[in-house]
Amino acid sequence: MPMNSRKKGGVPLAAVPMYIWTLLLVAIPLIYIVGLSFLTKAQTWGVDLNFTLDSYRKLFTPSYLKVFGQSLYVAVITTIAALAIGYPFAYFTSRLPKRARSLVLMLIIVPFWTNSLVRIYGWMILLRSQGVINGLLISLGVIDSPLKLLYNFGAVMVGMVYALIPFMILSIYNSCEKIDWSLVEAARDLGATRMRAFWSVTVPLTMPGIMAGCVLVFIPSVGLFFISDLLGGAKTMLLGNLIKNELLVARNWPMGAALSVAMLLMTLGIITLYKRMAGDKELEGLL
């Protein structure tokens, strides 16, 4: 009963600053963006107060759809690659002795204390034609002339997976940690092969971690455009680039706002889908 009355009793006083914060920094800008997306671009600067759906209509022209498609494609490939590398990593880490485990997790986290932009520049130094990798291969006599490692799709993928894989590893590790290994032993005792036991016991038990990891990798990878700019030579346009372009270069604020709203809806859609699939379980307490 006391619990109930507290719920009904409205907002606890301590939460008020939080509400003000959210209102000022989340709600109002969001309303502004949504409102802006229905206005018309003024000829030289700013917007005119004419209601129109043109910006949204334009979203469905082939070149814009292609940008959405490309962004999704990059995000999907990144997520799959992160899962493929991150799962075995997290799995084996969780089976290490306790001290080694903390050390490995520490080693994953420490690089992420530096700015991600700096780390991406580090990749550029490794990959460029007079860079570390090419230099090494040439001095070892493996190749005669430098390989073109930078400014292609592969380089973008390396950067994306590198930037986001800790989310995958930590989510899955979290699930692996909770596994009751006696269940796997039971499966083995009942005659399941190692593979069989893995697929029918371990994987389902770690499913929440896999799902959480995928969402945590997928959502930021739609927006991480600077990696594609730096490692891919800006040769494709992702949603982030497009929004920046509309706002700053084309000075078409309504279009930029409409794109942002579309991106927001897309992300919300993915989270909703995730919640459906994972039952009502929260995203490992994060969302």
């Binding site: 671009k41 000829q43 030289t44 600067w45 700013g46 070149s63 814009y64 292609k66 940008v67 490309q70 997790l105 986290i109 992420f112 700015n115 991600s116 932009l117 460029r128 034609s129 007079q130 073109k148 930078l150 400014y151 930037a163 986001l164 800790p166 989310f167 930590l170 989510s171 590790y173 979290n174 940690e177 945590l216 930021p220 927006g223 991480l224 600077f226 700019d229 030579g233 800006a234 040769k235 494709t236 346009m237 982030g240 680039n241 497009l242 920046k244 372009n245 509309e246 706002l247 700053l248 270069v249 084309a250 000075r251 078409n252 490992e284 307490g285 994060l286």
Partner: protein, 351 residues
Amino acid sequence: MKWTKKLLALLLTGAMAATALTGCSSDKPNESQGTEEVLNIFTWADYFPQDILDEFTAETGIKINYNTFESNEEMLMKLQTVQGGDYDIILASDYIIDIAVKEGLVAKLDKEQIPNFGNINPEFQGKFYDVNNEYTVPYAAGIPMIVYNPTMIDFEVTGYEDLWREELADSIVVMDDARNIIGITLKTMDKSFNETDEQVLSQAKEKLMGLKKNIRAFDYSTPYNLMISGETSVGYMFTSQAVLATNENPDLKVCFPKEGMGFGIDSVFVPSAAPNSENAHKFINFILDGERSAHISEQTMYINCNSAATPYIQEEALILPEGALDSAEFIQDVGEATAIYNDIWTEFKMS
């Protein structure tokens, strides 16, 4: 384990912060406190050399607040929010000044307070954004040019058309800028950088698509790195970047494209409601001094706009060759056609 969750949350916050890369510099200029004289400058980072600013403060006792923006558009957005106030000196590009003047955000200069006004090279005056030289003082001029590496290619680059050559597959770097790149495409077709005709633009689009296979990377701010490291053999970049590249790698050669050049002038102006207008005029007069102006150009590596500075300049590339401006063309606001340019660019990038 609880702490892995916390770590995850921490990482996530980091990633979010990283995506908010641009435009977060804090730049609320300080109000002048009491009797202390101040000057609020608003421009790109490092565009006024620090030693010049220090010298100004030492000489006049006026304290300088240096506020930065990332792009011209950001500058105008802020200037509009403060209704032409808050800042005393703004240094920005020609086309945006054009808009700022039309929006009534620029004050007329009081030339009585600027004895050095006569030092300005008239070649850089009377341009579209300030036909009667009432509002602006040109600070630096930039001509995007072609830089190439003769040790990597076996022909001489003479103009934009050469960028389309088959031998250059996957080996050029160009600035990540719609107006400039579509502009040079138009130039190879003998049209203007500021073409607005839809038909012509769609022809330019066809031609532009053929350039994609030659492009190794788009890079707006550091294209010289790719030229210096030999990642690319030909590059199209701004003056300062070309100077940097050739200084670093003397093998590199510069080409002033024969089809005619694009051109831009960054100018200083005083906003319409500048709180310390008098100090602003003092500052303008200060930087127009010949020797100082030469020093500035050698630091920023942009072309100098000051006749009085010429005798002091060592680096030849910073002095405009006689008559070079005759064929040069400003990249101006194209109004409604901006949308067409942007669509072409999106399609080009996605091709």
